[in-house]
């Protein structure tokens, strides 16, 4: 039987189409299959780690824009409220602002942060042209004559405004910080307070592990474990043994039936039983965001920033920076960072005045809180609302929340030691960022000059009012 060429082509076409259909269907429906084949364009630097987790954003196959919007809010909603968002959604839900939405739909995150469009994505994941402020603020000079003649592209990222967080820049705040020296006389960073507020930490397992100092004889790991001397030493010399945190506190985990199992390598979930806020923040930043989505831990090899080659396969969990058993926060604050990060700013740190201060603190030559480590600025100690009703000082393990735009760092980090004028100028000077803030800023930022002028106007106006009332006008 002769089969015509056309028939062969048909058969081939059907077979190939069926294979492709099965493969695509399997990729689409299987939880474990690679779905990147369906991606319409590369992800922005903010989300690139999540390429394997489409459902992190596309949470429901049958929803529209509201599903995506909810996904944005689920991860970033908190940043839109705290510390202060000058363009919160609630402002645009007011019917009197309905006409503003015709220019830019500020109720939807994707109006300015469209994903899968790297070709038009600029800093901070923005996909709007530079002139977006002008849609609503073209008459700014009527209200603020000092802004007369300023170009549409000078609003943001020049030591002045940013859309979501203007906290460092409101006029009264600038006036309060006029005439400050570049570096203050007394400089001390906020101190730790976990131990003093531990009573308020609801999840703390205080009944099983009371706050008492433990010794070698108290070790509760089964005898079959031959504990290495250095592990014992690390534990005995550090905070966990001194606060009643025994071996089983971290190494014993509960399974679904409530049975207890020994775990040789506890994950971040074990740390969360006492340090839940720190772990939660860690999984919201770039170090831990993959864990939040159930993916394998982040590795430096996957990063977009320059990283050390020999650290490429290091899995980022709590112990990769803190080390197990010793949990040394001094190592975690500098050495752990520099073991991976290999960009100019990181490489210049050990030649910077900040590092000099850090060495003095670590050696005991200077008081606690006077040194500046990587973590002092990038994982600062901040007052954080741990619940709706209480706040405490935490080390913010979401370093991404305090990074870009870098004016986010003004209050949480820089102002503890530096004047506002110097801070704004240093943060806008690319060279200073590169050399890790060695030397002086080269550029002058007008922000504080404008605040100074406004202050003069206010003083003059108040003096005139006083004269008027003295003479009974």
């Amino acid at each position: 039987m002769n089969v015509s060429e056309t028939s062969v082509k048909w058969i081939l076409w059907i077979v190939l189409t069926t294979i492709a259909g099965i493969w695509l269907g399997y990729s689409m429906l299987s939880d474990s299959a690679d779905k990147t084949i369906f991606m319409p364009g590369a992800l922005s630097p903010g989300h690139h780690q999540l390429a394997e987790a489409c459902d992190a954003c596309h949470a429901d196959a049958f929803g529209g824009g509201e599903v995506l919007q909810q996904s944005c809010v689920d991860c970033h909603g908190q940043d839109r409220v705290k510390p202060f968002d000058s363009h919160p959604a609630k402002k645009f839900k007011d019917p009197r602002n309905a006409e503003l939405l015709e220019s830019i739909d500020a109720l939807k995150c994707v109006s300015c942060h469209t994903e899968h469009r790297v070709e038009i994505t600029v800093k901070d994941g923005v996909t709007q042209p530079d002139d977006f402020c002008i849609h609503c603020h073209k008459d700014v000079a009527d209200e603020r004559p000092s802004h007369e003649g300023m170009g549409f592209d000078t609003c943001k990222d020049s030591g002045c405004h940013n859309f979501h967080n203007n906290r460092a820049l409101y006029t009264d705040f600038l006036i309060k910080h006029l005439d400050e020296p570049p570096t203050m006389k007394e400089v001390v960073l906020p101190a730790k307070e976990y131990l003093s507020v531990i009573d308020e930490v609801v999840e703390y397992p205080r009944e099983r592990y009371p706050l008492v100092s433990l010794e070698e004889k108290d070790i509760d790991a089964a005898e079959r474990f031959d504990i290495k001397p250095e592990v014992k030493k690390d534990w005995l010399e550090t905070a966990h043994s001194k606060s009643g945190v025994n071996c089983t506190a971290c190494h014993v985990t509960k399974d679904a039936e409530g049975g207890e199992n020994w775990d040789d390598h506890p994950e971040h979930t074990a740390c969360a039983s006492c340090h839940s806020v720190e772990v939660e923040r860690f999984t919201e930043g770039k170090h831990g965001m993959r864990l939040k989505q159930g993916l394998s831990p982040m590795t430096p090899g996957k990063a977009m920033l320059p990283m050390k080659e020999d650290a490429s396969h290091e899995m980022l969990t709590c112990s990769s920076c803190h080390g197990a058993h010793r949990f040394d926060v001094i190592t975690a604050a500098v050495e752990s960072c520099l073991a991976c990060h290999d960009d100019d700013h990181s490489l210049a740190y050990q030649q910077s005045p900040h590092y000099e201060l850090w060495q003095k603190e670590v050696s005991g030559e200077a008081e606690a809180g006077s040194g500046v480590s990587c973590a002092s600025c990038h994982m600062p100690r901040i007052s954080y609302d741990v619940s709706e009703w209480s706040s405490r000082i935490i080390v913010d393990h979401n370093q991404s929340a305090n990074l870009s735009p870098n004016t986010k760092m003004v209050r949480s980090s820089c102002l503890h030691c530096h004047g506002l004028a110097f801070t704004l100028e240093a943060l806008t000077d690319e060279n200073m960022i590169k050399n890790n803030f060695t030397g002086k800023p080269a550029k002058h930022i007008k922000t504080m000059d404008l605040a100074g002028k406004e202050n003069q106007r206010r003083l003059k106006s108040a003096a005139e009012d006083e004269d008027a009332s003295m003479f009974g006008f």
Partner: protein, 202 residues
Amino acid sequence: MKNMKHKLKRNLMIGTAVTTIAAATVVSAQVSDATVSVKAMADALHLVMDSDRSVYTKKIVNRLVKKEKVIKASEHFEDEKALVLPAQMFRFGSELAAKRAEKLDDVNFSYTLQSLWPINKQNAPKTEAEKAGLKYVAENKGKNYYTTEKLGGVNYFTAVYADTGVAPVCVSCHNEHPDTPKKDFKIGDVMGGVVIRIPVED
């Protein structure tokens, strides 16, 4: 005979049950069908807002700031560790109400505090109804202003109520604020207005 008695008893029970269910249905229908006019709803909302606002201004801000002098009130209440200003307390309440109303199918309204002499320029009237309403309540003391308007394709019943400077702190703070466009308010002056909006069908 016994059987008849039993039947009667059963019928009576059924009758009572039916009547009770019917009565309950009528009552619940009356409750869910009972309506108030949009104007009465706006007036009632305003009465609650204005009362809470007066209590906060008098019993918290004026008492602690002016009488007992133990704390400041500041628009930068977080930075200054101070009380929130009465106008901010009003706005925060308005924003929370809007957020909570989103989850309730049959509750839909919004309200703002505005002024012809606003310290924060965003609180100046924007729509024609707001402009006319704020002017009307300032010029006609004791009277409210009611109208309808269309915003973003939705029709609204819009009511404007005068907001009067009741305490010395209201007047002194507004007169002395660096951004104020008016420096000669006196106690009892209309300083602004509350605008309440309720969406209505065409």
